[in-house]
């Protein structure tokens, strides 16, 4: 990360000595400490790590849904703790893993909820709001479903609607927590490609926590690797060089193939003829 010339001017999000985890009666449980993170504009960053390592905790802390245990987080030049929720809603939007409760909202209405930070006390949409909602729905290519109730949609379509809602919120920063968790391969690739295009074309910064390691390797501008003992970030090439990717999963069955730039089953190595032994 030494290649950043003037971090404060460009970083949309950064943290200094950030500590994350949980406070309970039994004491404080640290999930990770001394995190010095940095997100630049127009970047697609994937947060990788095995289950339970604290990816969701990190995203929740960065989005102020959960208290940090130490250090500071900056959104542009302001400290996160000093930004109230209505201001933060204009800077950062979320796509979460949680299932949303049943209701009779249509796709359009659901996406339009993303305009709430900008609408009046009754939530009335101006013509500009309407246009932004329409654009967001168009960006995820769901125009045809705009008037359907959202509970009629498939998981893949619903996830795109949630992304459209985040787009309608018109924020520079979008955080997504495992956006492809329930999707098949086809929809997973579609969602990732969509997010990649958004980062490239609209200069939005997109942070995704995901288990789609191979897709992340192929598409992400930067990777954040979370392991119980340490946190590293950098481009795919740098992380291969530093052997950090190879050590992401502490398992015998899965190895990182440097030529393919993919994780592969160890048993498959002989088939591909590409020995991945270091």
């Amino acid at each position: 990360m030494s290649d950043v010339k003037n971090p404060t001017a460009t970083s949309i999000l950064r943290s200094e000595q950030l500590a994350i985890g949980y406070c309970s009666k039994k004491g404080t449980h640290y999930v990770a400490e001394n995190l010095n993170l940095r997100l630049e504009r127009g970047q697609l960053v994937c947060l990788l790590g095995k289950n339970g390592v604290g990816k969701s905790t990190l995203l929740r802390t960065l989005s102020k849904t959960q208290h940090k245990l130490g250090g500071t987080i900056f959104i542009e030049d302001r400290e996160l703790s000093e930004i109230d929720s209505s201001q933060l809603a204009q800077k950062m939007s979320l796509v979460l893993t949680e299932k949303i409760p049943d209701s009779q909202l249509t796709v359009f209405e659901l996406v339009a909820l993303g305009r709430q930070p900008y609408t009046n006390w009754l939530g009335k949409l101006s013509s500009e709001d309407h246009q932004k909602v329409d654009t967001a729905i168009k960006q995820v290519k769901l125009e045809a479903l705009s008037h359907r109730n959202y509970f009629e949609l498939s998981d893949g379509q619903l996830q795109k609607v949630m992304i459209a809602r985040a787009l309608a919120q018109d924020t520079d920063l979008i955080l997504l927590d495992e956006p492809t968790a329930h999707l098949d391969l086809h929809h997973t690739i579609e969602v990732f490609q969509l997010l990649k295009d958004l980062a490239t074309n609209t200069n939005k910064t997109i942070l995704i926590s995901t288990h789609e390691v191979n897709l992340a390797l192929a598409l992400a501008d930067d990777l954040w690797l979370m392991r119980p003992d340490k946190f590293v970030s950098g481009s795919t090439a740098n992380l291969i060089e530093s052997q950090d990717l190879q050590n992401l999963f502490p398992t015998e069955q899965l190895t990182f193939n440097e030529k393919l730039k993919q994780f592969v089953f160890r048993t498959q190595d002989t088939d591909t003829g590409l020995p991945s032994k270091k």
């Binding site: 929720s85 409760p101 009779q104 909202l105 659901l110 309407h130």
Partner: protein, 344 residues
């Protein structure tokens, strides 16, 4: 018309007309037959053919109709709020034990006199003290439910907790009844059957004041309520101040339920049934539409129930609480069977 915006002008117009019609019918019906022409002239400020009719309509039937409107719309609104706040279609003032809390407050006041003596006995004679006791009781239970909600996030557990609070209240009421005398017991039982007809204009003014105050509080929450449809985390990410919103919703629901239960007794079912009825008619989840629609529907439903409870042209009056359940439960069952799906 813009894409995605549904207009409901016609539905609102029909409901408005229905409200006027049911209100008029409600005033028209009663143990003494008064011709509709005379009712109309009394309503427009002219004397009718008989002086006693004027008295009946002005001091008995009109206050009762207004009470029905306030009770129906207030309970409907608090049911809607509970359903959105707890993201559960089964939530309502009754299921969450709030009405039981109000009953508990009133039971302490009416039945506790023999246990706690002097001060309570004096207070029990005042109508405002019943209102206060009921409100305190409903706040108490609502607060307790919310404390538990902080610990457990599973909505099904929340409902069970509400039911448990309801049965604790019922048990305490049983103990209190055991120690009270026949007269106090009768007073409490009559209160608990529900009644729309015992309010003076003065009490009605206080009642409408509190209902109006809670409604004004709610108007500011229409937008947060809509985003709460996506759950609390999403709502927060869209700029909703969660704690403040939750506090406002709890205070206004507690006030509405408390004051209604105080003045009209624990009216069952309206709080649960009316929001569902409305959502099915209007086919929307937008609170901008639902809040006024629920208020209208609640008022109409209770006016109709009250007209039935009157048993027109007879001396008898059935307890309103029995009618709302007899009338409301089949409607909800029918809707469920027809629609196969029920939403928050």
């Amino acid at each position: 018309m813009r894409t995605g915006q549904k207009t409901h002008t016609t539905s609102f117009a029909i409901l408005g007309l229905l409200l006027l019609l049911t209100a008029f019918t409600n005033i028209h019906l009663g143990s003494i037959h008064i011709p509709s022409g005379d009712i109309a002239s009394i309503l427009t400020g002219y004397p009718s053919a008989e002086k006693s009719w004027d008295y009946i309509v002005l001091n008995y039937r009109i206050p009762k109709a207004i009470t029905a409107i306030l009770v129906g719309s207030g309970l409907g609104i608090s049911g809607l709020l509970m359903q959105t706040l707890f993201r559960n279609p089964l939530a309502g003032p009754f299921v969450l034990g709030i009405s039981s809390g109000a009953s508990l407050g009133v039971a302490f006041l009416l039945l506790g006199a023999s246990l706690f003596g002097g001060v309570f006995a004096g207070l029990a004679q005042q109508s405002w003290s019943i209102a206060l006791a009921a409100s305190l009781g409903s706040f108490f239970v609502l607060g307790a439910v919310l404390l538990v909600v902080k610990k457990i996030r599973n909505t099904l557990s929340i409902l069970i907790v509400g039911l448990m609070f309801g049965s604790i209240s019922a048990a305490v009421i049983n103990v209190l009844s055991y120690f009270s005398n026949a007269e106090q017991l009768q007073q409490f039982v009559f209160w608990s059957l529900g009644s729309l007809g015992n309010l003076s204009w003065k009490e009605l003014a206080l009642f409408s004041g509190i209902v109006a105050f809670s409604t004004v509080l709610l108007l500011r929450s229409i937008k947060p309520l809509d985003s709460l449809l996506l759950g609390e985390n999403y709502a927060q990410s869209m700029g909703v101040a969660l704690k403040k919103t939750r506090r406002i919703l709890v205070i206004s629901t507690g006030l509405l339920t408390g004051v209604i239960t105080a003045f009209a007794g624990p009216i069952a079912f309206v709080g649960l049934a009316v929001p569902h009825l409305t959502k099915l008619i209007f086919n929307t989840s937008s609170h901008k539409i639902l809040l006024p629609a629920v208020a209208l529907n609640g008022a109409i439903l209770l006016l109709v129930c009250d007209a039935i409870a009157q048993l027109p042209n007879s001396e008898l009056t059935l307890p309103i609480n029995a009618i709302t359940s007899l009338f409301g439960a089949p409607i909800v069952i029918w809707l469920l069977v027809r629609k196969q799906k029920i939403n928050v």
